[in-house]
Symmetry: C2
Subunit: 207 residues, 2 copies
């Protein structure tokens, strides 16, 4: 509906074009956001742009786990209260944040920065697999938890890592898969339901 | 779910906070967008931030109709093919873009830059009403089309302008209201349906 001709200002159109490159942001939303920013104080807009510029210029990744960090070693790896015997392997930074938000995990992480995907031309050497093997080879790690998506790519990546780790004295585990808490059985897909029967756990009560 | 504690980097958190101030962008979406930008080339991020900074610094508003513009007089006001006898009054720049996209209107615009809203403390002097009266008083305008929302605020604003224009030899009209093209009658609200019966138009065929 909004063709290029309709933009009354090229400066506006340029800003909208840049915003519309963001994933999930169409031209209509981009226009709404840019016009919203136009109505804000100068400092509010500059706060946004400076925060992005600064992040992009100064971002660091933890030299141990490759999580995003403000320092050479991230807060999690540097925290003496964390269990250094356990490493949870995840695809990206958002997975770290999601697991941290559960407050159920006290070990360390390893951020692959992607997943093996031949379709997208991403092989084992394009992601942080070798550095994971090196961490395990250095000793001290007793368990590696695979917390990857249950997609073909996720399973491929997990299996590749599993084989690479076979020579080391380390336990490899996966996230439990099963019926989501709160979900009704009849709406659970049959693969998940089937796996949750096979991998049933001892009955627990709150009494 | 994502509390502040979970952000592994303060630079990241600051950028997410700024993004999350945008309307309709929650913290989860903001995080996704910022992490997306982190994965892009430096120049892609700087293109975005520079486009916003430049727009904010150099934006102009047309001195005639108050539409956004790169020049003192906007492209529409400066276009000799436009009908200068007709002025369409709209609330904001997006309304201009929406009407321009229809390619059905060849007159000029007047962007109020807001709408009379006592609840929000916006009175007639806070928006571009006096400059509209001045344009009409200067002569040459034969029709003023009210293209404001059919909300209480829109109706109040339209009525206020209508009374201010009563002393001038100008026709005041409104957008036609009725059943949307493609809508089914049974799902049309009764106010709209009632008004579309009262304001029925001569039958038109495509034959």
């Amino acid at each position: 509906m909004l063709n290029n001709e309709q933009y009354p200002s090229q400066l506006l159109e340029r800003a909208v074009n840049e915003f519309a490159k963001l994933p999930g942001i169409g031209r209509k939303t981009a226009t709404r956001l840019v016009l919203h920013l136009l109505r804000q104080e100068d400092k509010d807009v500059f706060n946004l742009t400076q925060a992005l510029d600064t992040l992009k210029r100064e971002v660091k990744y933890c030299r141990v786990c490759h999580n995003i960090s403000d320092t050479d070693t991230c807060n999690i790896c540097a925290d003496p209260r964390r269990d250094t015997h356990t490493v949870c392997v995840v695809e990206n930074i958002r997975d770290v944040m999601a697991i941290e938000a559960t407050m159920q995990y006290k070990g360390l992480y390893h951020v692959l920065g992607g997943i093996i995907s031949p379709m997208d031309g991403i092989g084992p050497s394009d992601i942080e697999i070798q550095s994971l093997i090196d961490r395990v080879a250095a000793g001290g790690i007793q368990e590696v938890i695979m917390a990857l998506s249950t997609t073909m790519e996720g399973d491929t990546t997990a299996f590749y890592i599993y084989r690479k780790l076979a020579d080391y004295p380390v336990t490899v585990s996966s996230l439990a898969r099963g019926v989501s808490i709160g979900d009704e059985l009849e709406y659970t897909d049959e693969v998940t339901l089937g796996r949750s029967i096979v991998n049933r756990t001892p009955f627990q009560t709150n009494h």
